[in-house]
Amino acid sequence: MKCKLNYLTAICFLFRYMQKYLTNFIRFYLGWLFDTVLSIVMPVLFGIMIDQIVYKQNLSLFLKLSGMYVILAIFSCVLYLFIYAQHHYLINMFTLNIKLDIFKHLMKCKAEYLIDMASGDINTLLEHDSSECMHFMIRNVIHQLNHLLSILIILGYLCKIDIRIGLFAMIAAPLSAFLNMKLGKTIRTYGDKARESYGGYISWIFELLSALRDIRVLGARQHVENQFDSYHKNIYGIEKKSGMTTYKAEKLTGFISLTIKLLIFTFAGYLASKEQLTIGVLTIIISFYDSLTNQISRVSSSYLDGLHRISLIQKIYDFLHAPIEDNNTSKKELKITDGNIEFNTLNFAYTKEVPILSDITFQINSGEKVAITGKSGSGKTTLAYLLIGFYQAKSGKLLIDGQNLAECSLKSIRRQIGLIAQDVLIFPGTIRENIMLGNSKATDKEIIEVCKQAELWEVIQALPDGLDTFIGLHGNDLSGGQKQRIAIARIYLKNPKIIIFDEATSALDSKTELEIHNAWNKVLAGRTSIIITHRDTTLMHCDKIVELRKGKLCSQS
């Protein structure tokens, strides 16, 4: 269920990640709590020491207390070791769990949802926003609780010393908090704008880096440089406004705190001059008031900081609640025996206003090699994606061997239908690892067999490490034809009943295309296949040609 997160709901959302490490969190919290108590005790101890030496000339107690002061300081240092160890452990484990959840969700997220997300956004979500969740829990929740506790103890102690001083201090705290709450809303709006702008820039630069070669070829360098400049100017403008608002909020509260501090010091000084307060108590008041203003400003800045972080947690929350594919486990298994495909008055649209496919009705018989052709944007690829279950038809039926695809599990659909796209996915790894993506349990004999059928074996044999040759990122060490043949070998290893080729040869030269067609003939024998193409040379190899125009079936021949 989607909801707008606030402090409490954000904590509730993150609590499920905390549960696993609850004991570590408790230890971390107790460590900080003890440290907070220490920071309150130290000034009191110091005040007592002053009084003992000034009024009672009790050197033995003064020395004892000095010794304890040193022991407490050493104790505090060792305590930090425990706190730091837990902090480090929690940061790693907590962030890793959130990242894992995001990654798992990414793998099963509906394709329609991912269309609207740039890869840079997902990257930011994984690498930056996830770690902010832990910072929120530590800096904006645990530290915040300790600051508040510290404020309460200090106020209580000041009241005990003198009720008038305590009351003075009590006015300062809510006043600062109120001012920060008021200004916090404006800061959050600016923060959201800055993040949105920065997120857009990150996505843009991420996409740009993968197209550097095209930019040079197109001579678009100047245009891209202008865009880069404009992004930075925009980010700078928003950050400047956000920074100014934050600065005003912090300085205003700082000024008010300072004024009240001076009033209290004057009053405490007056009481000391009348011998109603000792010098030691006066030092405690001065020290405590400094600590109090410090804690209040930390609470307010931490609150504002927390609001910034909630907007990042909201992004993770929304992503993790995005619709997933195949969430209905009761769907039946698709069983392809012959491979007959029937498109029955099929309709599809991303938005209601723009239909992508309208009333598509045709049939593909078992073992047929059918070409789907048409201009760009005619809906050819969408048709293939409907078949493989990336999208769901809005109305109409898609039947395979009489079974409605909408009622079958995606796992069974994708196991039995293979898709080879124009851009072949090549992972950095060996050729063997890349081919085995089709079947992770395949033996060497099976791999060699499919390589021969895909006309790839001769190429592999010529390489120094054969199947274990390492292919670089995106398969840059291979030609387009070789990559296609790896994809064919992979699909053949997967052994699906139906194969779809989506513009698989459109970027290849005619010689390579001929080689690929030879490979196809072996792979496609006895299987139903759909070939999406513009090329006449490819159409000649097909049994039937279906032409689409503006999302409608135009002709069948």
Binding site: L30, F34, F75, L79
Partner: protein, 60 residues
Amino acid sequence: MRKRSKWEQWYVRYIIKKPLLFYAFLFLGIALFLVMSLEIRMENGESLLRQIFVNVGNSL
């Protein structure tokens, strides 16, 4: 996988995973507090008593 050194093993086992050392340390800190406040109270009590004796002696 890299083999952990003895210190790393000890660190993970007793500082991160097992809470015993931490709680023992925390109790030590609390005990230190109690001893410290008791010492101050006793010292204050003694000096108060000394003051009373001095005052009584002076009045006699």
